[in-house]
Amino acid sequence: MNRPALFLCCLCCLQPVLAADCQPVEAIQPGFYARQGQDGAVFSARNIANTGFIIGTRAVAVIDTGGSPEEGAALLCAIRKLTELPVRYVINTHVHPDHLFGNSAFRTDGVSFIGHKNLPRALALLGETYVQRAQEAGLAVTPADLVPPDQTVGDTPLTLDLGERRIRIEAVGQSHTDNDLTVLDESTNTRWLGDLLFHHHIPVLGGSGSVNGWLDTIRILERQDAGERLIPGHGPLQTEALPALEAERGYLEHMRAAVRAWLQEDKPLAEGVDSIGQQEAATWPMAQEYHKRNISYLYSELEWE
């Protein structure tokens, strides 16, 4: 992209694009747009997850689609305001419903859905329950909105060409869930981490996740730091990469050590959930909603390690 074009693009897109039924987005890099989700608990709040899209010269790739077909449609509307190019790829960073229930809004011929190699299994295990709970919460979601990936990513990263712009999709080991992947926009050195990174939002351990695995993943990301800009799955899009990872690592390490010490003394879960790490957690937004459950999951994972 030449300099004037880049400049123009930034000028017009730093402003949120607002329209009826259209999701406001901001340009986080030239041709790379995102919407920051708002803090809220899954199902009870709307527009929770960060969502985004990358525009090449031939095609658009979407990263996460939001928590309902309606949110997916609002994202598609935002894309249509910016480009006529077809959406060719929809990438789901992991199975959680606030990130992929917007998938069906993008389901047309020529769109390839992409996920971690464990995503089909996770959808089969959890999808039905997610639909049920979404319906109970009043969301217009049906089993038909569970769109499994057409293409999965395992040990070998997948590189997609959007036209003069390549993006690289990498699967990671068990972390936030057992089906997390990252998306690197090579031209801007910007990596979308999905829920591997919570920023100004308490880290949330998923049911299929692992604190040990997640900390390994964070260490790998820190080691390979190549000046990448990191985009979190929740929280402000303007991150300083390493401090954000460090804060998340600090929380997870602290809680892991505290739960291990608790287990060492054979103290019961009930007291642990009410007391472990309360003070440290209180500094994080959304701690009320998720900290106790994190402790409960940590207890399960670490009890017989």
């Binding site: 039905e128 054979d266 019961p268 879960l269 009930a270 409960s296 207890y299 994972e301 017989w304």
Partner: protein, 276 residues
Amino acid sequence: MKRLIILSGLPGLWLGVVLLLLAPAGAMAEEDAWNARLKPFYFQDQPIEDGKDVIGLETPVRAEDGAMVPTRILSHIPQTPEHYISDLWLIIDKNPSPLAGHFQLTPRSGKADMELRIRVDAYSPVRVVARTNDGRLYMTERFVKASGGCSAPAGTDLESAMKRLGKIRMRTRLEDTLLNPVATTLAISHPNITGLQKDQVTTLFIPPHYVKSIKVEFEGETIFNAETDISISENPNFRFYFVPGKAGTLTATVTDTEGKVFVQEQELTGEAPASS
């Protein structure tokens, strides 16, 4: 529809019981459901008195994880040879198999307190019914908001869980004297598969496989006896009390539904807390 699918994962033996319990599912009030179906099923026409002076129950109002709801039973009467709590039943009304466990205690228990972790499948009353040695029944209940506890995939992968199947950790926290009740923690590594969980690879229901009985003896005398069911969380974990009176050997014997028997012993000395 979901119920039917779930039922097909259960062994035939259970089916009758479960169908009986689910049959009139609908808008019946919680207490009506208890009085009409569950109470007659478990306690026939025996009168059950208000338990507020006999037995207490602590549960989180909203559980963080339906598959692991910490639950504490607290007795309000001393265990004496003349008058003591001999039996405890823990019942989760809305679970596919509501009776989580039946626990037998003795005057030797010192106090009839117990902690454990249960699965709660839907917003439900949780009840503890205590029987004293004079045969009277007392009940205390709480309402727990939690869901999906019986179908949630296992917290750890099944393969590694099966490798450490039946490992037992016992720990006692000694007081100043062996004449006081000591808290005893019994932790069992067992996935306690409910029959309502799906296999991570095939996504088919995994056949139920869970701990069905636990017996803890001290020097040959039974101090804790439990018949347990699928509503006990994976890696069953119990804390109960007993009065040792002397140094000796604690023996836990755990049997699961596949007939596997796991035994763990622990020496209890009069001095420092022993650890396994």
